[in-house]
Symmetry: C2
Subunit: 411 residues, 2 copies
């Protein structure tokens, strides 16, 4: 299937710096794809720490099981990722394949298998021919480079119509540190060829006990606040590695240390940037939708309401049809199960209030709303009138393109 680049794609892949203590290598595994890299090996300096947020699916892939087990130690020396086969629902063979990939990577970089993080994306239910991959891994150290970010982003992609990267510089007590991330995913998309993977790297020196809670809370407001079709991959993986090879900086006391304010903000923005790029690459997407919920009982309630709106096929098709259908937004708020005061609610599209105090605003001017709906980026805001909780969620519209990709196309 020849997928056109999403009309919501950024103009180009960003220029991103090398991260001290990190080397990257990619290769064609010969597994599925032709004429493009589909196997990535990253090697980390001794002392690199790691944190992770993994799929909540109760039927996760074998690589997710592996990462969950070994993340607890909080250290990593390598990351290996293949695209083309997700190694999911492959039974005992799946575990053998992950172990083989970890062992081969450990040999290649000189560490223990438990220090290797593994991720796979692609077809599910088919045994992974791991011999092909492990043979290639052995040859990767000869190819190590420092800033092959676009190739790395390409190597982890499947149905993505563009490669996704983001980076920022922050400082910790005056010492500059880099944060670089790559991601893949066309939304939560087809488990055939799917999964959201994101890998973020920094040269800051931070303990895993600092990284893990910081990654978790920022994943909630970024990757866990985007949705394409409400489906959850069996393989979703977000990993954050810290090599500690920046200039020496003060050591924070814990994950809430004010020292880390600038770092956390930059981390949040890199994660948000990558997450929105995934929503922009949603299958069939023609419009990016941002949903701001305010006035909810709590932050958690606001996010749940936002996701109920973002996952509503009726809201998503209305946006596809350029219809500022506030009734469907109210319906979605109502089905979220969270507290909302129907008679105090407001709904706005593109900053223009259409409904207030539980009823349509009389005589509102439809022309600027229509102009907003005709654009590529649609803003939906609702205040549900019960508290101070707020959240932002991103999604894309639901178009014939989604049906085409998922129903008409047979792999």
């Amino acid at each position: 299937m020849d997928l056109k680049v999403s009309p919501l794609a950024p103009e180009r892949f960003p220029e991103m710096p090398a991260i001290a203590g990190l080397r990257l290598a990619v290769v064609e595994s010969g597994l599925k794809y032709k004429d493009r890299p589909d196997l990535l090996l990253a090697a980390f300096a001794l002392g690199t720490t790691v944190a992770g947020v993994l799929t909540q699916s109760t039927a996760p892939g074998a690589p997710v099981d592996w990462c969950r087990t070994h993340l607890s130690a909080g250290v990593a020396r390598a990351l290996v990722v293949n695209a083309g086969n997700a190694n999911v629902f492959t039974g005992a063979k799946g575990r053998v394949a992950v172990e083989a990939m970890a062992a081969a990577s450990a040999s290649a970089v000189g560490c223990r298998p438990a220090e290797v993080m593994v991720a796979s994306t692609g077809v599910i239910g088919e045994p992974l021919e791991h011999e092909k991959i492990t043979a290639k891994i052995a040859k990767l150290p000869a190819r190590f480079g420092l800033d092959q970010w676009e190739l790395a982003a390409k190597a982890i992609s499947t149905t993505d119509t563009f490669t996704k990267g983001a980076h920022l510089t922050a400082d910790i007590a005056g010492v500059p540190v880099n944060i670089v991330g790559i991601a893949k995913g066309s939304g939560m998309i087809a488990p055939d060829m799917a999964t959201m993977l994101a890998f973020v790297f920094t040269d800051a020196k931070l303990d895993a006990s600092v990284l893990q809670p910081m990654l978790k809370r920022n994943a909630d407001t970024t990757f866990n606040s985007i949705t394409v079709d409400g489906d959850t991959s069996t393989s979703d993986t977000l990993l954050l590695f810290a090599t500690g090879k920046a200039e020496p900086h003060l050591t924070p006391a814990d994950h809430r240390d004010p020292l880390l304010r600038g770092f956390e903000k930059a981390l949040h923005n890199v994660l948000e940037d990558l997450a929105i790029q995934i929503a922009r690459d949603g299958e069939g997407a023609q419009k990016l939708i941002q949903i701001n919920v305010t006035g909810a009982a709590s932050k958690r309630a606001a996010r749940k309401i936002g996701l109920a709106i973002a996952n509503s096929p009726l809201v998503k098709t209305a946006v596809a049809g350029e219809d500022a259908n506030w009734g469907r937004v109210v319906m979605a708020v109502g089905k979220s199960g969270e507290k909302a005061d129907r008679d105090a609610m407001t709904v706005a599209f593109g900053g223009i209030e259409i409904a207030r105090d539980g009823a349509q605003v009389e005589g509102f001017d439809e022309a600027p709303v229509t102009a907003h709906m005709n654009g590529r980026e649609v803003l939906i805001e609702t205040d549900v009138g019960v508290g101070r909780g707020k959240a932002t969620v991103w999604t894309c519209d639901l178009t014939h393109g989604y049906i085409y990709i998922n129903a008409d196309y047979r792999s």
Copy 2:
């Protein structure tokens, strides 16, 4: 918009008997539709009891608020339903409109307004011109008949492509009783023009304290086990009326009395029949999908897993594409949040096991599966391997027709 009759529609509307103690009248209200009835009044004999199951939406329509308040008394003398305007998100005006409809119906049949059940379906967010409706209600008693079921089903419909009715005869301790139901809804569908309404009538003599728990538990396994797009209407209403005008029969001690076994089974089957008819009329539906979940931790867990599969756009588009994509079924089980043993799961399409013990069955014959997928009715079965809970859920496929109706079409 000219909607074609669903290819999944039954051949014809069933012949259904009159219910002693019940009279029906329909008329054109002049509100929205032309050349078809869109206002129904049902009058019940003194002593008629009522039970109801209403939308769980936290932003329900004014008629739902009214019914919730007055159902607690458990008695009813009239039911009034209009199609074309749902009287939802209409603020204080909405309450005034419901009160006016109840008062006019009460005058027409000679009862108190509190004994009138009210339901509305259609556009939301627009004030209901209730004067047009109340003027017509006053004239309806002259039109009362006994078995105008097809007209009654037509009068409550909106985007339905066919009228929906079902009936069965049961007996209570040897005395025959009738159960007749009508329903409307094209799935949970667009709140523009939407809502699931179902009204069931029996001549059995049963107290509301018997009807209510019986209706609730049977709604869970029927109406609450169908889904088209996972969206919940602000107006969903299921009401059960018992006129008590059958031949005298023994009085059950309570809602679990074995006397009622036959009655409850027939009630369940009428509800299930109507519910499946709604799934058959799902927007854009080309295939009816039945999902049987077994081996779950509980009945409730099984239904939640079933609904996760039924609401997955990826599963629904796979069926539209006639692709027995068991990987997407596994993904949906995983995202349900309910306990499942990935390594003991089975998945079957059309009775043919494709995955067993957490992996694809080796060398299974694809031809009979493909033949099954090409038909109008698709059966998906999964055993999640952790307990004895089971449930059945129905939905339809997700096709270009759904996008066409909800995105391309502007009312």
